[in-house]
Amino acid sequence: MKFIDEFRRSDLAKGLVSRIAQRSKNNVRFMEFCGGHTVAIFKYGIRQLLPPTIEMVSGPGCPVCVTANSDIDKCIAFSQLSDVIVATFGDMLKVPGSRSSLQRAKAEGADVRMVYSALDALSMARDNPDKSVVFLGIGFETTAPTIAASILQAQEQKIKNYHVFSMHKLTPPVVKAVLNAGEVKIGGIVCPGHVSVITGSQAWEFVAKDYGIPCVVSGFEPLDILQCIAMLVEQVEGGRSEVEIAYSRGVCHEGNVEAQKLMHRVFQSSPAEWRGIGRVPGSGLKLAEKYSRFDAERVFEIEPGESYEPEGCICGEVLRGVRTPNDCALFNTICTPQSPVGPCMVSSEGTCAAYYLYGGDSRG
């Protein structure tokens, strides 16, 4: 398939693998921020192709995984309201909250429907005028602009029964939080591809400048990732720390300025709670005052109850890159994709799910 096959060519992959092996002298740990990268790395078996000098760790880049349990509990609480349809991306359905999951709430009679975009949820509101639709807004800079667009459309078309529960998160602040915590020594960052399409590679300049850590923005095909790792190795060995792009077909320095404007028009930044990381200032997006009538949290009163983390689950540490799923006593014993304990085992972009499905290290 055009634009796909070119980025999966085995001859080019072999060339990059030997380039990495030749140049890499010093031991180094790279973090791939994005869950999409984690999955691609496992799916194509990229870890096995790297020399022993390079260690890859996964970061907090799976939107479902970093959603705090208190937010999941709120999602479920919205589904318990009468005459409310909860519209959600499929990934959220199975995530366990403190007491239940959306999937379970649905089985118990709640009206929870899977959609593929916020605009589908908006049509759902149009088609069900006697009900209220609460769309669960989740994701990073990648999804936030389309959800902002759906709110503007709702306003323009005077659709009053469309609401968004915004759990959106911003990536640069959390990268900063992880680096400030200093729990893991990181020698380079595989910067998120889709996020950088919106933010531009400029978003990562502070990492290279203030922390002296090499950054390379990567796409999601195996050649993109290998190219990115090769560029990171070259920065490390050359003693450089810059922001480079290995995904120039999608990403530029400034990013998508229109999408950024749209996002900042509808949302305003706020502190946000991240699973395993805690409250990170300026890392969340809530609806701006002007659009408060679309804000599900302000329109509906819910009783989500007290939230707590599942016992024994180390998702939080996995998200910070401090430990791997293999360090977790629950991994592949009590916690499997069939009966997940933590969100990292649920999401298709979760680190635990990737380890489980693609035989990460121990299961191979």
Partner: protein
């Protein structure tokens, strides 16, 4: 009156309306001497080993590109029989209809059942109809059971795969699942892709003609190729190693999967089979398959190994390898 266009609860009452429905809608289309007797059971004679299977069909939407629930209900059960090496002969056919179903839709389904049964050379010999309240079923559910006979020398089972055997796939994967997804509410996207739904009895007969020594056969329906290969690996306590590059996938399927974040390995097929055969038989079986219209794109995709019993490993396109696990739950599209 508009009501006459639709199935009513009374059509399932067992009274006159039910009789009319059965004789006009079903018997007229599907008639054969065994069905026409209208006794409580169909009585048939047999010699030899019998294969007996059942399956229920609840696909939504009931019409999709390349088929419908009726064709699926015939092909699915015929294929289950064929996968044990049986020649499919007789089917039962039971409908659970949601009140309000349009007669013209039911008719379309029955006509399609007739065509599929004809192609598969099976007879519908007994049946049942129930009508349930609105909301108690989704338009139309169908159950079919089937009987076939198996040649004495044929010994096919999911537990017969042996190290050294060759894995053959009869054609492209994911066509059915993606075709159905493309018409599903809330997700319609345009594609020229059609379901691969087809009865495979003829293809299997040709394969068995080429070699009686086929060890395993399975149709990778729900859960897709990955799940079916895992089932065989576990049942036979062997490892299976497949080659990503050898697996035929249509561009349209690849494109839709890229877009939705799905993996073709886990997408359902309704007209494909996997055969596991000793190396010595592989060439002749593959040749026979390629001659049949439903096996034109057949390919050897891997081999059975001693290593990692119960596991499926795939050589990836870029020269590495990884585990291929079973599907867990429904494949859900990703967020970003």
């Amino acid at each position: 009156m508009a009501e006459q266009d639709r199935i009513l609860l009374a059509h399932g009452s067992g009274g006159r309306m039910a009789h009319e429905l059965i004789s006009k809608s079903f018997i007229r289309e599907l008639s054969n001497p065994l069905l026409a007797r209208m006794d409580d059971s169909a009585v048939v004679s047999f010699n030899g080993k019998l294969a007996f299977t059942t399956d229920s069909y609840v696909v939504s939407p009931i019409f999709f590109p390349g088929g419908d629930i009726g064709k699926l209900a015939v092909c699915g059960t015929v294929n289950d029989l064929a996968m044990s090496g049986a020649k499919p002969l007789y089917l039962s056919l039971a409908f659970i209809i949601e009140e309000g179903l349009l007669f013209k839709d039911l008719k379309k389904v029955v006509v399609s059942i007739k065509a599929a049964a004809h192609e598969a050379s099976v007879q519908i010999v007994t049946g049942d109809t129930k009508v349930v309240h609105h909301g108690s079923a989704d338009k139309l559910f169908i159950n079919t059971s089937g009987i076939g006979i198996i040649h004495d020398r044929v010994k096919i089972s999911g537990s017969n795969a042996r190290p050294g055997d060759v894995v053959i796939l009869s054609g492209t994967i994911g066509d059915h699942g993606v075709a159905v997804l493309s018409k599903r509410e809330g997700l319609s996207f345009s594609t020229k892709l059609k379901s691969d739904c087809a009865p495979l009895g003829g293809l299997v007969a040709d394969m068995l003609e080429a070699s009686r020594d086929i060890n395993c056969m399975r149709d990778p329906t729900r859960g897709g190729l990955a799940t079916t290969l895992n089932e065989i690996a576990q049942q036979s306590s062997v490892g299976i190693r497949i080659d990503e590059e050898a697996i035929p996938v249509r561009e349209e399927v690849l494109g839709a999967c890229e877009m939705l974040g799905l993996d073709p390995l886990y997408i359902a097929n309704e007209g494909k089979l996997i055969a596991i055969v000793p190396q010595t038989e592989a060439k002749s079986v593959l040749k026979a398959m390629k001659k049949h219209p439903y096996g034109k794109e057949a390919a050897i995709i891997g081999e059975v190994t001693k290593e990692k019993p119960g596991r499926v490993v795939m050589n990836t396109r870029i020269g590495s390898s990884r585990i291929v696990d079973m599907l867990t739950g429904d494949p859900l599209p990703r967020i970003c």
